[in-house]
Symmetry: C2
Subunit: 274 residues, 2 copies
């Protein structure tokens, strides 16, 4: 999917919501455990309930890997299901990979060639050759970690160099030599509200993937105020607050309601640019 198509979807759906599929066998409603593939059954119900209200899904690889082979099967089935039934959805493999060139090539092959996903999250620590192998696939995206939503983001990401440039700023600047805003996005946590001003100085036109709204406490209003650009430029993720909105047999209806509440807020915010 290219940038313009993504923006068209945002305008049509009046939403820039990404639903994070952090599906944990220990947290899904009990009645699903009798299904042959409980994880997929849960995801399918969540997807059917929310697809009208979001423009992206973000399966978090850790949750599938933790189940070994079974989890990997559930992940592949989930991706196929989205692609077959909701082909306008942008699919993000939240994998936070990053390795030497020949290894990154294998990851790229896995996510883009085998699974035909739209994007993958990548960690910048190992530099250019850990990122470039992902960029040879047309209309596929690298979403590079810049400023994350967690407490530990302060440990290294805010470290200033001799010129006062913080590490996340160096990541933003350096990585623009590797790819344009047609192939690269950045992860910027919603918990870093006002930092979006600084981020936008470096990357005015890029899309940003924004985790941390919902369970982690970030404010959508603040993110939009400081982070939105004329093509929206934001994909805001919510995982737990939507998919675990209810743990009974009504979980999908509750997820739909939770997604709808966010979409309504987003529609309001989008008025600034549409």
């Amino acid at each position: 999917m290219n940038k313009q198509q993504l923006f068209e979807n945002i305008k049509r759906k009046k939403s820039f919501l990404c639903v994070g599929l952090d599906t944990d066998i220990k947290k899904i409603p009990e009645h699903l455990l009798k299904e042959e593939d409980p994880i997929f059954a849960f995801n399918k119900a969540i997807i059917d309930a929310t697809a009208d209200l979001c423009i992206a899904y973000k399966p978090n690889l850790a949750f599938y890997e933790s189940l070994g082979v079974k989890g990997w099967i559930a992940f592949e089935k989930t991706v196929s299901y989205i692609k077959k039934n909701y082909s306008d959805q942008f699919i993000i493999a939240d994998a936070k990979r990053g390795d030497i060139g020949n290894t990154s090539e294998m990851y790229a092959r896995s996510f883009f060639d085998e699974l035909d996903l739209d994007s993958v999250t990548v960690a910048p620590y190992m530099g250019e050759d850990s990122v470039k192998p992902f960029l040879i696939y047309p209309e596929k995206w690298v979403i590079l970690l810049a400023l994350t939503s967690n407490k530990g983001s302060h440990d290294f990401q805010l470290t200033e160099d001799a010129n006062g440039e913080r590490l996340f700023e160096k990541v933003l600047k350096t990585s623009q030599n590797w790819a344009s805003d047609e192939q690269m996005m950045y992860v910027v946590g919603a918990t870093q509200g006002k930092m979006f001003q600084d981020i936008r100085k470096h990357v005015p036109n890029h899309f940003l993937l924004v985790p941390g709204v919902g369970a982690q406490g970030g404010s959508l209003e603040e993110v939009c105020k400081y982070g939105m650009n004329k093509m929206c430029g934001l994909i805001v993720n919510s995982s737990r607050a939507i998919i675990y909105a209810d743990k009974t047999e009504n979980f999908a209806i509750a997820a739909k309601a939770a997604a709808k509440a966010v979409q309504v807020e987003m529609e309001e915010q989008l008025k600034a640019i549409l």
Copy 2:
């Protein structure tokens, strides 16, 4: 496995070699492709041929993930095979994970609880809470990326802060608040030979996992000169130079010979401390 046990294995085998199982379906000998599980068949032959000469195996997750479910099955079978037949081997999941706390918990559950591996490589970019969930498992290890072997390592890892401290040094220093040398190791690339002096100033007693000898061109002698400590403190990995030493039906014999050549060099180097 604890640190003392690891050192005992090194002394007994006169080796600190780790064989990297970067098994690529496109690179293994053609006759194996008729096997039901060619990846596992290859690994099994490599392991049987090299187990006497090494103290660790490092399956690189990317290579298995790129094959989807089949790859994950081959990975799990490989781990089980090592644990059952060569229980003295230290197994490293080369995964380079690192995510917010609740996600890292899932990865830790996957690698330590489900698969019972000894260690996992972790990327430091997201800071403390991305690493800590791996540290609750006794005698399991985090191997944190510090200074990697690739060209891109220069992009961010060498960035100096206002006090002249480079990012990899800050990672070494900060992470020592999270765990001791009984639970933490560091990745330091062999291609950074003389930098081992600087590394050892910060972490004199830690084990270091050293990729980059062999195909990537690092020198074992230089690594030992600047990096060895009184408990050896080095696990030196070689992947391609061993497992792809030959691509005919003799591949396992050639792998054994390649591993033996490295082990002999290591035995020589170990004389300095044994």
